[in-house]
Structure formats: structure tokens, C-alpha cells
């Protein structure tokens, strides 16, 4: 039955492509969360009236974040080819897509982190200060835990955007479902392949959203 409906879909190749999509999304997500949280904290802490208030640094970080957010992903990949080649030794394959994916997503996530941190009650930070807390303690025991639901739901949004980006990364032969749909489907006029890949991507997006919502709800004790 499946064979009749999708004559051109090779199960083994499809599984490999799905695996590559997961691989790229998850690994890029790790890097995105690390850099995004760092940048987001920096944006928040150096902002007006915050703990490390520093106008100059704030403007510089904000500028970097905005520039990389402004560049369309397809162009970013191409611009980063020399950097990727230097870093990974090649500009083709799943691993080669990671730097571009992270550099594209981290600034986006950084803004979401910043918004999440702004939502933390100023009074609670003040209470921690009144107890004699160090800035380090305030970051790790107040700011991050208190903004955790926002950080996780922001990460969910970012991860879903990343799934889309991994498909675009197909242009540098990154592998994954996007690559598969384009080269094995669209180019060969095998539209059943395109269809199956699309359905799979939608399912992956649903899974990420479901897991993200579940964790966010678990964390939120408000």
C-alpha cells in the first residue's frame, strides 16, 4: 500500500535523512542555548539600571545580535563558508551546517532570553541583594531559575525555527529532510518524496512543541 502511494520513497534513505535533521537540530540547539543565554544575560545585565549597567557594552552586544538576526539564513550560510571551512575542515555535510545554524539562531534566542529575564520581578532581585547575594548568586539562583519557563518556551520556538533552517542548509549539502526533499524529490520530479519529507518535518515540529510545552508547564509554579 505504502509502496503504491509513494513509489519513489526509499525507506532507508528517508530514515537517514530524518536522523540527520534530528542530529543537526539538537546539536545546533545545544550551541544556540549556550551562546543565546550568554548573550541574553549580557544584554540584560548591561542594560540601564541593571547589575552591570554599561551603555557601551550594551550597544556593542545589541549591534552584533541585530546584525546577525538581520541577515537571511540562506545568505548567512554562504557568507560563512570560509569560516566553516576553517573551523570544520569542510563546508559540506551535517557538521558543516552547525556553525551557520548556531550563528543564525543564537542571536534570535538571545533576544528571547533577554525578554524572559526582564520579566523577573525586580523586587526579588532586590530581596536577594538585601540578603547580601553576589551577582553570581543572583544570576544562577534568581535570574535563571525564575525565568526558566520563558527560557524553555523560547528554546522551543528557536528549535522549531532551527528545523526550518536545517532544511535550508540543504543548499550546502547538509543532509537532512530538506536536502532529501529537494535533491531526491523536487529535482527528480518525485513529488511523493517531497510530500513525505514535509509530513515528517511537520511531525518533528509537533514533537518539539509538545515536549517544550510539557517542560514549560512543569517548571512554571506561578
Amino acid at each position: 500500500m505504502l509502496k503504491e502511494l509513494f513509489p519513489n520513497v526509499v525507506m532507508k534513505d528517508l530514515l537517514v535523512a530524518t536522523g540527520e535533521t534530528f542530529y543537526m537540530t539538537l546539536l545546533a540547539m545545544v550551541g544556540t542555548v549556550i551562546f543565546g543565554v550568554l548573550l541574553g544575560l549580557l544584554l540584560y545585565l548591561t542594560s540601564n539600571g541593571s547589575l552591570w549597567e554599561n551603555k557601551g557594552l550594551n550597544i556593542i552586544v545589541a549591534a552584533i545580535v541585530n546584525i546577525f538576526r538581520a541577515i537571511p539564513f540562506i545568505i548567512l550560510i554562504l557568507l560563512l563558508i570560509p569560516f566553516t571551512t576553517f573551523l570544520m575542515g569542510t563546508f559540506r555535510g551535517s557538521n558543516a551546517a552547525l556553525p551557520a545554524l548556531i550563528i543564525g539562531a543564537a542571536p534570535f534566542y538571545a533576544r528571547l532570553v533577554e525578554i524572559g529575564l526582564r520579566e523577573v520581578d525586580k523586587g526579588v532581585i532586590e530581596a536577594a541583594q538585601s540578603m547580601g547575594a553576589k551577582t553570581k548568586t543572583i544570576i544562577f539562583k534568581v535570574l535563571l531559575p525564575e525565568s526558566m519557563p520563558a527560557l524553555v518556551s523560547g528554546a522551543t520556538v528557536t528549535a522549531i525555527a532551527l528545523i526550518g533552517s536545517t532544511a535550508v542548509a540543504g543548499v550546502i549539502g547538509a543532509g537532512g529532510l530538506g536536502d532529501f526533499a529537494y535533491f531526491h524529490g523536487f529535482v527528480r520530479r518525485d513529488f511523493d518524496v517531497v510530500f513525505v519529507c514535509t509530513v515528517l518535518i511537520v511531525i518533528i515540529v509537533f514533537i518539539f512543541q509538545f515536549i517544550g510545552d510539557f517542560i514549560t508547564n512543569k517548571l512554571d509554579k506561578r
Partner: protein
């Protein structure tokens, strides 16, 4: 002892200078409950935040115990803050932590080992009457319970001083009373100095030993609570006293119109005299009728205080003798309102 000398705080807002605290001097004794009252904008909130330097003073000197707070460097200030508890109007608890974990937070900051932390947290939960709610999250607690967590948290590192920033302003009257009782209890049990700021005179009346009235960044009047209640000098203080005593002069004219027989007399009760059974005594010893028209007696921490307006009806001579008696034999102050 806490001493504040020449303390000023000037905010710059859009190139405008706003003097929130203006060359303020104050001395607070160890173990007392000291109230600061004022309307919003009087600078009282800034004052309490200056005491642990959540707000940096523009000039002046603050000494708490042996430590001169105003000259401490960042690290020493952090250490000093661990000995100054603070509670807030909106409680400022971490919603991501349970009651126990919230109370443990200042202990974590002070580097208390985990084992001792658990023990101390249990003591504190007991002290503030939250047994059984250890694992609840703040969102599951009522306002009063949240403030109890706030108090337990503030007391965790055995501070000498507790700063209360409008600690009861977000609570209903009944809960306010229970929180105030708790504050008196810990003040007596732990010998803690409590400084509280409020805009509610009944908070001052109920638990404070001394009070300072603030207006425009300055202390305009201060003294023992009873004295300030009895002889408020400044208009702002009079207004606050009326808050608790209600303004009786409004309906006085009406009383004078309606009750034309006998003498209308206002009796001022101060301190212990309020406990004497004055009314029953005069009606027994003199052949007069005493009719209570209006009044209010209220309890302060140092005794009762209040006024009664009464109508004394009887033979003119007898009435005069009665008034004479009250004036000379008791410490109740008498004010004859009108000769009928």
C-alpha cells in the same frame, strides 16, 4: 543602636533634582520597634532602602551597631547585609522555590552547610507558624502566609535589625494584625530591633515604641507613640492621628444642637487612666446621669488613649462638682464644650 546623621538622597530625574531624603538625623535604640510614618512621596521608602544601601546615599552617615554602613566596601557591605533582615510590601519571594527553599536562600548565600540549613529552616517555619506548608509554592499561599515566609527568610541569618518596607500594606486588616502580632513576638523573643515604615497609623499605634513622622524628606516630628498621639504638633501628624481616632469635630456641632440639657464634656484618657472605671464611679458618687455620646478608646503599646464626649445631666451644682472631681482626682483631662 542605629544612628543616622545628616543623611541625604538626591535623585536626578530628567535634569531635575529631587531631594527624597533631606539632611535627616535619627537615633534608634537597640530592641525597640521604631515606626516611620508618612504619605507616599514623603521619602520614607527611600530612607529604609538607604539603611542597607539598596539605595546609595548622596551624603550622610549611617551606623548600625559598631558598623558604619556608609563607608563599607562592596564585600563588607554584603556581609553586613546578611545581618540586616528586610521584608517587603509585595513579599518578593522566589516563585520557583518552595517555602522551605525560599527560607533556605539567605542561608545558602551565607554559606551555611546543607545539614544546618535544614535544621534552621525547620526552626524558622515553626517560629512563623507555617508548619505543614513547607513544600508549598508561594502561589499556593495567602498574602499573610507569604509575608510569614518573608519574615522567616529575613530572620534566617539571625540579624540584629529587621527592616519592614510597608510590610502590611498589601494585606487585609485581619491578616495585618496577625503579622503585627508576629513582629511583636519576635521583637520580644529575639530582642530584634525593628524599623518599619508605613502610611497606616494603626500599625504604629499597635506595635511601635517610638515614631517619626516624615514629610518632604524630613522628620517633622518624633517621640514616644503615646506622646505623639496625645499632642500631635504638626498638621500632618494630626491627620495621621485622626486616621485612627476618626475626626470627631465634624459631628460635634450636631451633638451640641441635639443635646441641650446638662453639660457636654470631652474627656481625654491617656495611658493608664483609660483603664479606670471613671464613668461608673462618677455616676455612683454623684447624683448625675452620664450619657455617652461619642468617642473612641484605642490601645497603644504603652497604654490606652482616647476621647469620650459625654453629657452630664443633673443639678447644676452637682454637675460642677462632678467635673471638679474628674479634674482634680483623676488624670483624665476635661474639656467643657458648652454651658447648656
Amino acid at each position: 543602636m542605629i544612628s543616622i546623621e545628616g543623611l541625604s538622597k538626591i535623585f536626578h530625574l530628567n535634569q531635575k533634582k529631587i531631594t527624597a531624603v533631606d539632611n535627616l538625623n535619627l537615633t534608634i535604640q537597640d530592641g525597640e520597634i521604631f515606626g516611620v510614618i508618612g504619605y507616599s512621596g514623603a521619602g520614607k521608602s527611600t530612607l529604609i532602602r538607604l539603611l542597607n544601601r539598596l539605595e546609595e546615599p548622596t551624603s550622610g552617615k549611617i551606623t548600625i551597631g559598631e558598623k558604619e554602613i556608609t563607608t563599607l566596601d562592596k564585600n563588607k557591605l554584603r556581609m553586613a547585609r546578611q545581618n540586616i533582615g528586610m521584608i517587603f510590601q509585595h513579599f518578593n519571594l522566589l516563585w520557583s522555590r518552595t517555602v522551605s527553599e525560599n527560607i533556605a536562600f539567605p542561608l545558602e548565600i551565607a554559606g551555611v552547610p546543607a545539614k544546618e540549613r535544614v535544621q534552621r529552616v525547620n526552626e524558622l517555619i515553626e517560629l512563623v507558624g507555617l508548619s505543614g506548608r513547607e513544600n508549598a509554592y508561594p502561589s499556593q499561599l495567602s498574602g499573610g502566609q507569604k509575608q510569614r515566609v518573608g519574615i522567616a527568610r529575613a530572620l534566617a541569618n539571625n540579624p540584629k535589625v529587621l527592616l519592614c518596607d510597608e510590610a502590611t500594606s498589601a494585606l487585609d486588616p485581619e491578616t495585618t494584625n496577625s503579622i503585627l502580632d508576629l513582629l511583636v513576638d519576635i521583637n520580644e523573643r529575639l530582642g530584634l530591633t525593628i524599623i518599619l515604615i508605613t502610611h497606616e497609623m494603626h500599625v504604629i499605634r499597635k506595635i511601635c515604641n517610638r515614631v517619626a513622622v516624615m514629610e518632604n524628606g524630613k522628620v517633622v516630628e518624633q517621640g514616644d507613640v503615646l506622646d505623639v498621639f496625645l499632642k500631635p504638633k504638626q498638621p500632618v501628624t494630626k491627620k495621621f492621628v485622626e486616621q485612627v481616632m476618626e475626626n470627631q469635630d465634624g459631628d460635634l456641632d450636631q451633638l451640641l444642637e441635639e443635646y441641650t440639657s446638662g453639660e457636654l464634656v470631652r474627656l481625654h484618657f491617656v495611658g493608664e487612666t483609660a483603664n479606670q472605671a471613671l464613668i461608673s464611679k462618677i455616676s455612683r458618687e454623684f447624683t448625675v446621669e452620664v450619657n455617652i455620646l461619642s468617642g473612641k478608646i484605642t490601645q497603644t503599646k504603652l497604654g490606652a488613649y482616647g476621647t469620650l464626649v459625654v453629657q452630664i445631666i443633673g443639678e447644676k451644682n452637682e454637675v460642677n462638682q462632678t467635673i471638679q472631681f474628674i479634674k482634680e482626682e483623676t488624670s483624665v483631662e476635661v474639656e467643657v464644650l458648652v454651658n447648656a
